[in-house]
Each structure stands twice: as structure tokens, then as C-alpha cells.
């Protein structure tokens, strides 16, 4: 770049000095800064876009903390943490790629873009594994929600609160035995307005076979259910007496997860918390929208890779890499919040 060019300035020379800057800009700096402002404004709309889902999450968590405690037994912190690290690494390589573009280090730039894409693909693969587990367990959004395992049967719950899981299994067996004896389906007993027992079913549909299994395998439960005195009790009185027998260690996790409804919140019940499925609607929308952003990001990085083959980046032309990196950091930024919100519920 000779100084004669700059002394003359003007459009004709401007093109020669900055081959990638269109006519209507005064120079590379203005070109870059207008682009950058546009990207920042786009990122603002992205933040507001996600804010709707963050709002849904906040309100639902404030209204139903027990559902979140209930749901956390179904989520895998390990894979969430792996994905967090993977995204942070890709953010780092993206920031490094910007540096490479500014310094004109073409080979390093391409390597860093490829690593970023690779990290994004790893992220998507982990998401695929997580999602297929959820689908397999019937943890689907909205009306498709039909968990195969109730929370006290879930691996994490049994591992963390073995006593509570055993107690829950005992009570459920009792409920099923009573239902079988009464000849009614579990669903029919849900009449909270009349003050009757809200025996909201544990895996509808499987209730009958489940009950039969439990009765066949556990003679103690069978005997207890058939005991004349017990079967004469009203359902809610029986359930209350069962719940009172629980030790605090058995009772507390079940209460926190909303499985045992506290007396203050209405008639006693032993069931999956009401509207628990909404958690998974929120979960899939938040992680899904984020996942779409990651997929778009992969596309953008591939585009950047092709640009890096055709053009020479340097300290006056690195906008495309910088802007893609900004978008990528925003995707990372959102995941930084999603991780503790969805995977680190305690």
C-alpha cells in the first residue's frame, strides 16, 4: 500500500486500497464499523428473542419449584457439562480465528475455523444422544409427554434417595392393590373436589399389569392390601396414614419433588406433580432453539471457510470472521445460562 494512493484518496483509489470495501463506504474502517453495528443490533434482537423463553422458565419455576426438583432427576448433568466445555472451547477457537484473520495468518485461521465447526458438531452429537434418551423415556413436550419411568423409579432418584424410592414403590404398590381390589381404574379415583383420594396414576395404561406384578412378587404388599381393616379405610385416610409412617428421610425428597402433595396445597395426593410435562416443553424449546442456532452457526462457519479460501484477510478486512465469531459467542453466552438453569437444578 503506497502513500501516493492515500494522498489522492477518492473512490477510484479506494477500490485499489480496500478491494473488499464497496464504493459507498469512505474506507475499510467505516465499512467494518457499519457492519459491526448491524451485527450488534442483530444480537440485541436475538437476546430479546430468547428472553421470551427465559420469561416462561422464570415464571414456571417461581410458580412450581417442585416440578423443577422433580425434573432434575431426569436430566444428565454430565452431558450438560461436557457440552458447556465443548462450546467454551469453540468460542475460544472462534476468538482466536478473529486474531488470525486480523494478522493475516491464513492457515491458522482455517485450522481454527475447522476446530470450531468440529466442536459445534460434537455439541450437536451430544444433544442427539440426550434427546434420543428423552424420547425413549417418553419425556416429550406438551401432550406427547408420557414418561415411561416415574421419578421414584428413575436412576438418579434411586441412586440419590434409595430409602425414599423404596417407600414410594411400597405406597404405589398399595395404591395399585387397592385399585385392583376396588375394581376401579386408578384414574377414576381422582376426585379432588369431593375430598376423595387423588390417586393420580403412576403410568396410566400400565397400572393394571404393574399392580399384578407387584402383588405377585411381593406377598407382603398383597397381604397388607387385603387386610380387612385397611381396605375399609377411605382412600385418603389410608394414604395419609401411609405418608405419616414415612421417615423424614423417605418423605422429604418425595415432598420436594411434589410427589406427595403437602396438606396445605389441597387434598393429599401421591402422584407425579400436576403439569410436570410443561417442564419438558420449556426444556425442548429452550435447548431446541439454541440447537437451531448452533446448526446455523455451523453453516456460517462453513461459509467463512470458503471465504477464507477465496479472499485474503488482514488488519483492514476481517469483518466476516469477526461478525460470525460475535454470533458464535452469543450462542455460547446463551448456553452459559441454559446450563445452570436446566442441568444444575438442586
Amino acid at each position: 500500500m503506497s502513500d501516493t494512493t492515500t494522498e489522492h484518496g477518492g473512490h477510484g483509489h479506494g477500490e485499489a486500497v480496500y478491494p473488499y470495501t464497496p464504493h459507498h463506504f469512505f474506507g475499510a474502517k467505516q465499512h467494518f464499523e457499519s457492519g459491526k453495528l448491524g451485527v450488534w443490533l442483530f444480537l440485541v434482537t436475538e437476546i430479546l428473542f430468547f428472553a421470551g423463553l427465559f420469561c416462561a422458565y422464570t415464571i414456571y419455576r417461581a410458580q412450581h419449584p417442585e416440578v423443577f426438583y422433580w425434573a432434575h432427576f431426569y436430566l444428565d448433568t454430565f452431558w450438560g457439562a461436557v457440552n458447556t466445555i465443548v462450546l467454551i472451547l469453540s468460542s475460544f477457537t472462534a476468538a482466536w480465528a478473529v486474531r488470525n484473520a486480523q494478522l493475516g495468518q491464513t492457515t491458522l485461521l482455517r485450522i481454527n475455523i475447522v476446530i470450531t465447526i468440529a466442536c459445534a458438531c460434537v455439541f450437536m452429537c451430544v444433544k442427539y444422544v440426550e434427546y434420543s434418551h428423552k424420547f425413549h423415556d417418553g419425556l416429550l413436550p406438551a401432550r406427547h409427554f408420557a414418561p415411561v419411568h416415574e421419578v421414584w423409579e428413575s436412576e438418579h432418584f434411586v441412586h440419590k434417595h434409595p430409602a425414599a424410592a423404596k417407600a414410594a414403590a411400597r405406597i404405589v404398590a398399595g395404591i395399585e392393590a387397592r385399585t385392583a381390589a376396588g375394581g376401579k381404574t386408578a384414574l377414576d379415583t381422582v376426585q379432588p373436589r369431593d375430598g376423595a383420594l387423588a390417586l393420580v396414576p403412576v403410568s396410566e395404561g400400565h397400572a393394571a399389569e404393574h399392580g399384578a406384578d407387584a402383588a405377585a412378587t411381593d406377598p407382603e404388599v398383597l397381604a397388607a392390601a387385603k387386610a380387612a381393616t385397611e381396605s375399609k379405610l377411605a382412600d385418603d385416610v389410608w394414604l395419609e396414614s401411609e405418608v405419616k409412617k414415612l421417615t423424614p428421610e423417605e418423605r422429604r425428597p418425595l415432598e420436594m419433588a411434589g410427589v406427595i402433595r403437602k396438606p396445605a396445597d389441597g387434598p393429599i395426593a401421591f402422584a407425579r406433580p400436576a403439569k410436570a410435562g410443561i417442564f419438558f416443553s420449556i426444556y425442548f424449546f429452550m435447548t431446541g432453539l439454541h440447537g437451531i442456532h448452533v446448526a446455523v452457526g455451523i453453516g456460517l462457519w462453513i461459509w467463512m471457510l470458503t471465504i477464507s479460501m477465496r479472499r485474503k484477510f488482514g488488519d483492514t478486512y476481517f469483518g466476516p470472521i469477526d461478525f460470525t465469531a460475535l454470533y458464535w459467542h452469543l450462542v455460547d453466552l446463551i448456553w452459559i445460562y441454559l446450563f445452570p438453569m436446566l442441568y444444575l437444578i438442586h
Partner: protein, 207 residues
């Protein structure tokens, strides 16, 4: 129409004298000139870019110490000055077309430092879940850690620390609106519960 005629925007004012530093006496912009070399020195020690040759140790030390306390306008000026040096232009011409030096290159050490801080904080936030800090305590701690991580990403990876004030303002204002959105929505979150309860009761009776 030459390029410098179009350039006297307010935010660009500090950089013109810096870029033309040989014309000015050093006393006029001592920090800027010192910092210029300092950043170049850091750059050189970190990445050992062949084109950076100058370094003045005392000035480098002063600017490193002062670096974080300087107002961002001065820091911007520093980064501008660094850009011109990093490219190996000999002072005089830089002023004529300062336009071409606007790249703020992040030192490699800083990128690596932010990366390790983010990974340490991630490990920390997972570790904290095994400690019971009360019903909301764990969530608050997790969100504080997330906010520190977000600040690191925004400040350094997205180099907002060195970006123009207007971009910083535009981006941060979105968080203000999110806050407004959340707090207003939370204020009346219980407002419709009776309606929902009544609706659900009706649904059950209808069955």
C-alpha cells in the same frame, strides 16, 4: 474528496494525534505513546510476531500496570496506536491514512487466560451443586457464576471492552429490557391462578 476530511467524528479524535506521534512532543500524550510500545511489547513477548521489533521495558511496565485503570477512550487510542505499530508503518504515513488501522488484536495470553477462567468456573459451578445452600442458594450461586462467565465472554471474546461506547450501550440495553420484561411478568404471575383453577374444575365436572 480525501479520506481524512470525512473523518472528524468525535470518537476518532484521540487517534489522530496518536497516529501522528512523531510530530507531537511526547509530553502531549505520554500515556498513549508509552502504552503503544507496551502493548507492542506484550504482543511481541506473547506471540513473537516478527514485525514487532521495538519495546521499551519501563514504558511497557507502566502501561501494563496502568492498563486496566485507564479510561476506555485512552485505551481505544492505545489500541489504535498499537494497530499502526503492529503493521510496521513508520509513523509519518499512518496519520495520512489512519483509516486502515482499526483492528484490535487480542493478545494470545489473554485469550488463553479467559478460556481457562471459563473452564475453571464451569467446573466450580458443577462442584457447587453438591453443597446444599438452601432452597434458592444454589440457584443464586449458579446464576452469579454464569454471569461472571457471561461477562468474560462479552468483555474479552466479544471484545466489548475495546468496542465503541455505542455498541456496548446497544448490546447492554437489551439486558435492561429483558430485566424489565422478567420483572413485570413476575409481578403478576399469580394473578390468573384462580381463573386457571376454575377452568380446570369446570373441565373435570364436564367429564
Amino acid at each position: 474528496m480525501s479520506e481524512e476530511e470525512t473523518r472528524p467524528e468525535p470518537q476518532d479524535i484521540p487517534e489522530t494525534p496518536v497516529d501522528g506521534s512523531p510530530i507531537l512532543s511526547p509530553s502531549e500524550r505520554p500515556t498513549a505513546v508509552g502504552g503503544d510500545d507496551a502493548l507492542a511489547a506484550i504482543e511481541a513477548s506473547v506471540a513473537s510476531e516478527p514485525k514487532i521489533t521495538e519495546s521499551k521495558a519501563p514504558a511497557a511496565f507502566a502501561a501494563t500496570v496502568l492498563g486496566d485503570t485507564l479510561p476506555s477512550a485512552v485505551r481505544e487510542a492505545l489500541s489504535e496506536a498499537k494497530g499502526s505499530h503492529g503493521h510496521g508503518h513508520g509513523g509519518g504515513h499512518a496519520a495520512a491514512h489512519g483509516d486502515e488501522h482499526f483492528a484490535h488484536t487480542m493478545p494470545m495470553m489473554m485469550l488463553l487466560g479467559v478460556l481457562s477462567a471459563l473452564i475453571i468456573l464451569t467446573v466450580l459451578t458443577v462442584a457447587v451443586t453438591s453443597v446444599d445452600l438452601g432452597s434458592q442458594g444454589n440457584f443464586i450461586v449458579a446464576m452469579i457464576i454464569a454471569t461472571i462467565k457471561a461477562a468474560l465472554v462479552m468483555g474479552y471474546f466479544m471484545h466489548l471492552v475495546w468496542d465503541s461506547k455505542f455498541n456496548v450501550f446497544a448490546f447492554l440495553s437489551s439486558f435492561l429490557f429483558v430485566l424489565l420484561f422478567l420483572s413485570m411478568a413476575l409481578l403478576d404471575r399469580g394473578e390468573y391462578q384462580p381463573t386457571i383453577d376454575r377452568f380446570e374444575a369446570d373441565q373435570k365436572t364436564a367429564k
